[in-house]
Symmetry: C2
Subunit: 387 residues, 2 copies
Amino acid sequence: MTTHFPADSVGLVTPQRVDFTQPLLLACERTLDAYTLMFETYGTLNADKSNAILICHALSGHHHAAGYHSENDKKAGWWDSCIGPNKAIDTNQFFVVALNNLGGCHGSTGPASFNPATGRLYGADFPLMTVKDWVQSQVRLMDYLGIDCWAAVIGGSLGGMQVLQWTVDFPQRLRSAVIIASAPKLSAQNIAFNEVARQSILSDPDFYGGHYYEQDTYPKRGLILARMVGHITYLSDDAMKQKFGRDLKTGKFLYGYDVEFQVESYLRHQGEVFSKNFDANTYLLMTKALDYFDPAREYNDDLQQALKSANCRFLVISFTTDWRFSPQRSQEIVNALIAQGKQVAYADIDAPQGHDSFLFPIPRYVTLLKNFLTSVQATVKGTHHAS
Amino acid sequence: MTTHFPADSVGLVTPQRVDFTQPLLLACERTLDAYTLMFETYGTLNADKSNAILICHALSGHHHAAGYHSENDKKAGWWDSCIGPNKAIDTNQFFVVALNNLGGCHGSTGPASFNPATGRLYGADFPLMTVKDWVQSQVRLMDYLGIDCWAAVIGGSLGGMQVLQWTVDFPQRLRSAVIIASAPKLSAQNIAFNEVARQSILSDPDFYGGHYYEQDTYPKRGLILARMVGHITYLSDDAMKQKFGRDLKTGKFLYGYDVEFQVESYLRHQGEVFSKNFDANTYLLMTKALDYFDPAREYNDDLQQALKSANCRFLVISFTTDWRFSPQRSQEIVNALIAQGKQVAYADIDAPQGHDSFLFPIPRYVTLLKNFLTSVQATVKGTHHAS
């Protein structure tokens, strides 16, 4: 059946959904009485359930992290480069769980879901989420799957923030944490870029205060702008130079506002495609979750104190040309972990792709991740044999 | 009369206008049959007209570079920190000319001007301008003022690009060039940020294809967004950290889309103020002039060849935390000048304010500029005595 998929692909996958009825109290002090999570799994859970890995997604991610949804599906999941048989996150060894976070727009309960309290779609009434809330909901999914302890929780960017929060809030429930291209909190500049993205959407006349679903429209212009500005921060100056330089679309200046430079064409196209596939309310919510993330805040702004109870091995990875979350931001995490005597490995990977590097199968990065996970699993097997 | 103005201020100034009737052929191959330039002058032109300095403005600048327009004027001209009696650009020594460039929105002919060809305001019909066009129009102003050779042409950012173009196109008409926080051409990332700003304006329903004047409205939302994204690139990450950090406006998270962080408040305010004082068509035009600037383009992309005929002393200044036009970009200019055996001084000034540094009276920067201009003037006096 799946012979035409690449040999190192997990092949056909089927999204699953689980409905939770136990209320979830959120950081904003509101409660979700019931909610749905969409997820996918790859590989097989072993008998002692010690080989489970959780994948946390970034701003525009979702549960479809690897494989294909149909025989004719041209595009694999968003992290297919790293998840599959013999890949960095080896599905021959691990049982991998990927979910769509609450507030998302790919099947989990979010702004476009039905709100039982009002009888209409949530829209702007959907509560704002925090990374902490997501981790709480991920624990519920973990319990539902009967997993006591993750072999690893892994994520890049906003995903890495969820990993860090796991180590703070549920230190006994993961054996390792892989934090990629992330930061312990946003800088003022990070927040500023998010604010521009938000204002693009909020000020779009088609936003209708977040209830655009009922108007049968959506803030397309705003979403395009938000994605364009975001996209610039995902790429390095170098990557843009290599990719586009100052190349002109028609070879000469047009002296008008149509596309002149290739980079303009690329950005407009990326914005356009994204605006058709992503929900504006979810985009807003994701940027706020980023802004709010600051695990040290509950510990007198002391990241070391926040990480004091962490009880797992850490792998922290940054990329040389990432200016959204520069290597220095990863090093803040590493330094706090070292100061607390935690077991941490850190690598700054030389890569030209900027923040987006974490999505690419860069050899040194992939090898590092694979070896780390193998080592984590060897340790637990050793422990099990000894017990 | 002006005793309440600071002692080192040029005091009250009166804008002047000059109407040109000789057609100006533009880079876009269209012609402006007649046009007006607004300008101001500070200090006194000496007998041999050897002490004139031209100030070229950046994206949002204009002719009002120093002094005050009325007794009650609270705000001085945009470069008052550097222009005045005994200041870096010393009006006791020099006759300083500042103009509003063509396409501007402060009195010179631009998109909001009457278009004699159509009987309506230009709006989107105003031709796109290039740095080269501006320099041509500045030569006309120079001739009108009876000045044969500038003692110096000075500008920061887009202003510095005009200075560079002067040295390429009219090497015999300036004795020195001061290029501050500039670049020999935009990078793909620079263009990308400009494109986001443009799309913000172009996609605003109140833009009306550039003819919003006739609708008695303007693309306020778009202009706010354009300024917000621009503003982020003017400040350094460090400057934002020092200025705002993660400070909250109300001291706690609100879990909504009102202002939470101080940096959001600042950006929204800056955008709001700017949108009331600047014309959207001019903003669009200015970003395109930036994109088009590339003096090496006419010389087989060889900056050295472009600068071969340059015949003046150069001072090039960059700022350590400027990431819009980083020190490396200034060094490209310096290296080309050195390779051509030109007389060039270069300084990378340690300053936390990012690209905006050029507007601040940073002691080392101000002293450097003042000494350079004094030296330029000493040389010409020497020459005159010898002749």
